[in-house]
Symmetry: C2
Amino acid sequence: MATIPRATQFAARTSRLRASTIREMLKVTQRPDVISFGGGLPAPELFPTMEIADITRRIMSEYGAAALQYSVTEGIPEMRSWVARRLGRRFGVHFEPESVLITNGSQQGLDLIGKIFLDPGDHVVLENPSYLGAIQAFDSYQARYLTVDTDDDGMIPSSLEQVLAHAEPLPKFVYLVPNFANPTGRTLAAERREPIVRICEHYGVPLIEDDPYGELRFEGRDSGPLIGYRTEGVVLYMGTGSKIVAPGLRVAWIVVRNQEVMERLVLSKQAVDLQTGSLAQYVFAGFVENDAMLEQHVQVIRRVYKQRRSYMLECLRELMPSYVRFNRPEGGMFLWATVERPGFDTEALLRVAAAQKVVFVPGVSFYPHRDVHSGMRLNFSNTKEEVMRRGMERLADAVRAQSPGG
Amino acid sequence: MATIPRATQFAARTSRLRASTIREMLKVTQRPDVISFGGGLPAPELFPTMEIADITRRIMSEYGAAALQYSVTEGIPEMRSWVARRLGRRFGVHFEPESVLITNGSQQGLDLIGKIFLDPGDHVVLENPSYLGAIQAFDSYQARYLTVDTDDDGMIPSSLEQVLAHAEPLPKFVYLVPNFANPTGRTLAAERREPIVRICEHYGVPLIEDDPYGELRFEGRDSGPLIGYRTEGVVLYMGTGSKIVAPGLRVAWIVVRNQEVMERLVLSKQAVDLQTGSLAQYVFAGFVENDAMLEQHVQVIRRVYKQRRSYMLECLRELMPSYVRFNRPEGGMFLWATVERPGFDTEALLRVAAAQKVVFVPGVSFYPHRDVHSGMRLNFSNTKEEVMRRGMERLADAVRAQSPGG
């Protein structure tokens, strides 16, 4: 029987798949001589390795096989209660464990949200720039993007109002990162929070509040989460254990009070992977259940990241030409720099920089319409001070080399 | 600002989401007085709990933070090499680690395959009955199903040929479980394997070989995998650690030699969850790297499951009325029984049985067109012998109560 030649037929949605600049960079930066401000990696030297070994032994003794067996799609009860309790304590807002779904990292949360809301061609409202992982997740559902203006205080409510007032049809949801955003490090100002909730409520558009970095505030005061406001609208809050414990466990969560939304998320998760790893959930719950231990651990992370952020600012001030601007985030893992020279392209800069063994993520990746080329995301959480200066020297040289007359 | 009332707008694909009978049953069967032949659970008393505690400690000492950090989407090198090596040793077929993608359980493999191949309305070829988790995964991509006749030796090649010859358009892929299938326990006969590969090759239709149970053969001889034949066609092989180590780790794999298919799978996985848990992969790799230890462990599982299967057969012969037929699988976790009475409906039987505190999965769930009502899937791996007899007594009573004149 002869073969009928036929190219493999892929689904339409795969045409929009593109490799993540960041994930590809992870491969490059595994070369030890490259200094990376590129990844979004937490500082591994702060991971509680031996505590996790101890907890695993305890879990195996106490729960035994149950911690290795299949478990329910929603997440183990210990995790769901802890998430509800933690949010409650931080913000004084009551949540039921039934409002919590445990996901395989926040990226899965983004995928599930895309899955339940998005048909091909649907609109999504994003900050500009916005988190790349979210754009990738929504791309795979063939979303189109409406962008809202942002400034140093995050999304501008009047711009959101404008976008929704003129959107036809209405977008399926609004997505934002309220605290120490990726990529910009910006935080949504307290006085903008309720207006954004009310605008989404008014138009009946769900609001996705993705908060991976909120626990990492090292200066200033927390604003309450958007999900904390009483509203007739639908708010989905996303949190993660990746930044306060470790990303390799893949334990994150979605919190939503709307039961129909929760049911569709759970059914979707059943279809995509049945459940988040049982052992990972038990180990995570075992680490965080001790409030004092967790608090102490997160305090160490905040202190180290603060030092690194401050040192990076010092290096930037000292080493960069004056036309490089940068902000001063009060928490998180990233700061945002722009090269204020006409036509400057940080993708071209990356090629020069990589040859000099320093990397970062060019800002263009974070703009849904890929139309702004002057920005760069600089990660400060994963570089020790002695290495940071050397990296900044290389980067400053690369910027000057790329700036005519620089 | 008044709220414009507006129901939450979900994506079209969510209209086909349905709760898995099996997952819902998991909740019922957590009541300790219910005897369950329903779940697809491995025997938890065989899980290597203390070995996993020891391995975790060793991983934390040897790899330290790397085992808790983000890692590459494809899977850690230790896992990819082990999968290639294990398949190579079992079947004498060479695989490169680059042909292996580590997934968050096999369910994620099914989801990714749906994601890269299926547009709404596309056709998929299934055995009849077929694995429910696969139907659910493909449902969420709005697939339609073509069914191929099967008998005790699995999919019938001439029926597959017929289906493909008349399919317009051609289906996107053929999906089957070659060894100790879920739900029937049937194994695809050795002499049918190459013909199925050649038919798919001829029509240029990818072949998905889902093999979660192949390692659990306790009688007879292994046939080689479908991916073992040299072919110009595309074959995707799926394996899992859930049945040989533990499902709660969520470590499974897809093996495919076609580079374009692998790239799309990897990009899709990047968008859905970035990566499978780093710690889970390191722990799994730490357990299986010692061939002798793994072999010994799997031998114990095979021995226990064989005893349980044989004892279930004994109970069925002794307790069931003669119009209940059942098969005798040579491995795996399930056997398949049918009630040969006109119009008998095992969904109705389940309601009666559940009231008597014994449950199973009604066969209809596994027929893509939900048109055959006489079958039931009986799991033997997760019930000890003393409990099994009691469960079978209850089930036989329920069958008689549901059979007029029974």
